[in-house]
């Protein structure tokens, strides 16, 4: 395939494997890796839509719409980016990883920590956490961040995060208490992906905004908890 537009980190695509009427809608996925002729996604099997995608074979046709959404802004020169990911949310922040980037990465258990080998090739500054303690710190990535941020003693930390609702709520609370800047990629049920259906909104200080169009990445200052 030949993507017409190269994505930027944090953007997403809508994928559709089925050519039948059920399941009807496309499924949104963050872009994980890409080059001129490939797009890679991390897909967690959840329902029928994702199972159809898994059952595809090399050579099958897939309907791809994207890149969509805004992506993460670049950190300012004096800022130190710190990535925080929960579970499959790693896909969204993965393209931000560079040599030495600090990453707090949590999952339910060690089996749900994805891409560890790829991550280790890029950075050694990984803070692994699992809810059940099967690997790394016992607890979630935000708890680990709260515990270690001061010890890291980095200049102007700026958070880039994606993860499940509970993790994001805890992160927003911490960032707002400490006045730490950050960008979070949000997930919401989506239909069109191009800003028309108004199905995927989240509450911001300026009213509802569309995750697919004004997002999926929002400045933490915009979000109403």
């Amino acid at each position: 395939m030949q993507p017409h537009v190269r994505p930027v980190p944090g953007q997403f695509y809508l994928l559709r494997a089925s050519e039948t009427l059920d399941p009807l809608l496309r499924r949104p996925f963050s872009i994980l890796m890409w080059d001129d002729t490939h797009l890679e996604f991390l897909i967690r099997l959840k329902g029928r839509g994702t199972h159809l995608l898994r059952n595809m074979r090399v050579g099958d046709r897939i309907d791809v719409l994207g890149p969509l959404g805004n992506g993460y802004p670049d950190p300012l020169k004096d800022e130190t980016p710190i990535l925080v990911a929960g579970g499959v949310g790693i896909a969204s922040v993965f393209p931000l990883l560079h040599a030495g980037t600090r990453l707090f990465y949590g999952a339910m258990n060690s089996a749900e920590l994805y891409l560890l080998d790829d991550i280790k090739k890029l950075t050694g500054n990984i803070f692994i956490c699992t809810d059940d303690g099967s690997k790394g710190f016992k607890g979630n990535a935000v708890e680990r961040l709260i515990e270690s941020l001061d010890d890291l003693a980095v200049a102007k930390p700026t958070i880039y995060a994606c993860g499940p609702e509970g993790m994001i709520a805890a992160l927003l609370k911490f960032l707002s208490e400490r006045g730490i800047p950050g960008y979070i990629s949000f997930e919401e049920r989506m239909a069109c992906g191009i800003g028309a259906c108004l199905g995927c909104v989240i509450k911001t200080v300026q009213g509802y905004k569309r995750v697919c169009k004004e997002g999926p990445v929002f400045n933490v200052r915009e979000i109403v908890c």
């Binding site: 399941p23 009807l24 049920r189 191009i194 028309a196």
Partner: protein
């Protein structure tokens, strides 16, 4: 091949329109579709003042369909005129403003304002919303209230007036007759069907609004039946909608009596759905030797003598 159709005094170059709420204000689809190739663009429903809409989650997928409870979020009539209409006017395509209100007065005020500007070629009234002044009774489910609001709007607009009917009624043919008698130039049907879905793990509704409107292929047989019912009851043109995914679906609606069709949920599945439906209609005409699209309107062949 003649694809043109008339909706009252409004001539369309072809019968494929967009269903309100599924095509934004047109601009969202401009990079996927040549807007000028469409029969008409029906924009997202407008109210006199902007509306914030419902809290999320607002949509949920259902078998071959989806439920939505967007809550009529929109930028309001004035912002539409100032910010969105100039873009649409660049294209050689009729613009139909869908609008609604909480009261007869609000409908009238919105219709008056929308009739007052250049670049709007028709109005479509959404009467599937509740009337605040009449105990939240939905306008489009009571014949008297429908008659009152359509008559009131008719008095203040010279634009072609389409009334979008709610399917959440016992006798949609009656509602269509009421709209016709009150001065509507056309009716469009069907709007979404009231529905609901529950997450059995959490025991909570899947939509924050609890109930929502069902759309998509799942509702097509209902739409076809209702168009057929209405076709035998009124003399004004019908715009058929409900689950149209391709040209064959559009043809089915026309055979049931629709003069034109509106493509809705399909736009969410594929942003080029409108033009794909149009090319499917052309294919059908070519294959079947049909020269004029109007010739198939109401072309259903049936045998029951008692209807």
């Amino acid at each position: 091949m003649n694809l043109s159709v008339n909706i009252g005094k409004l001539g369309l170059k072809n019968p494929v329109m967009t269903a309100s709420g599924t095509f934004g204000y047109g601009e969202e689809y401009a990079e996927f579709v040549d807007l000028a190739s469409l029969g008409a663009i029906v924009v997202k429903g407008l109210s006199l003042l902007p509306r914030e809409g419902n809290p999320p989650p607002r949509i949920v997928e259902t078998p071959a369909g989806m439920l939505n409870a967007i809550g009529l979020q929109n930028i309001g009539v004035e912002s539409f005129i100032e910010e969105k209409l100039p873009f649409l006017r660049q294209f050689n395509v009729p613009v139909i403003a869908n609008f609604f209100g909480d009261s007869v007065d609000e409908y009238v005020a919105a219709a008056e304002r929308l009739s007052d500007v250049q670049g709007i070629d028709g109005l479509e009234m959404n009467i599937s919303c509740p009337n605040k002044q009449a105990g939240w009774l939905v306008f489009g489910t009571d014949p008297e209230v429908t008659s009152e609001v359509v008559s009131a709007v008719r008095k203040v607009t010279g634009l072609p007036l389409i009334v979008k009917l709610s399917p959440n009624v016992t006798d949609i043919a009656l509602m269509a007759r009421v709209a016709e008698d009150a001065g509507a130039d056309a009716v469009s049907l069907i709007n979404t069907l009231s529905g609901m879905a529950i997450d059995i793990k959490t025991r909570r509704p899947k939509l924050a609004n609890i109930t929502g409107g069902l759309s998509g292929p799942a509702i097509k047989p209902i739409g076809i039946r209702m168009v057929w019912d209405v076709f035998r009851a009124v003399n004004i043109p019908i715009i058929g909608s409900g689950g149209i995914m391709d040209g064959d679906d559009a043809i089915e609606y026309m055979l049931a009596g629709a003069a034109a069709v509106a493509v809705g949920t399909a736009n969410f599945v594929s942003p080029t759905a409108t033009v794909d439906v149009l090319s499917g209609i052309k294919d059908y005409m070519t294959t079947n030797g049909i020269k004029d699209i109007s010739s198939i309107k109401g072309g259903l062949i049936w045998e029951r003598e008692d209807l």
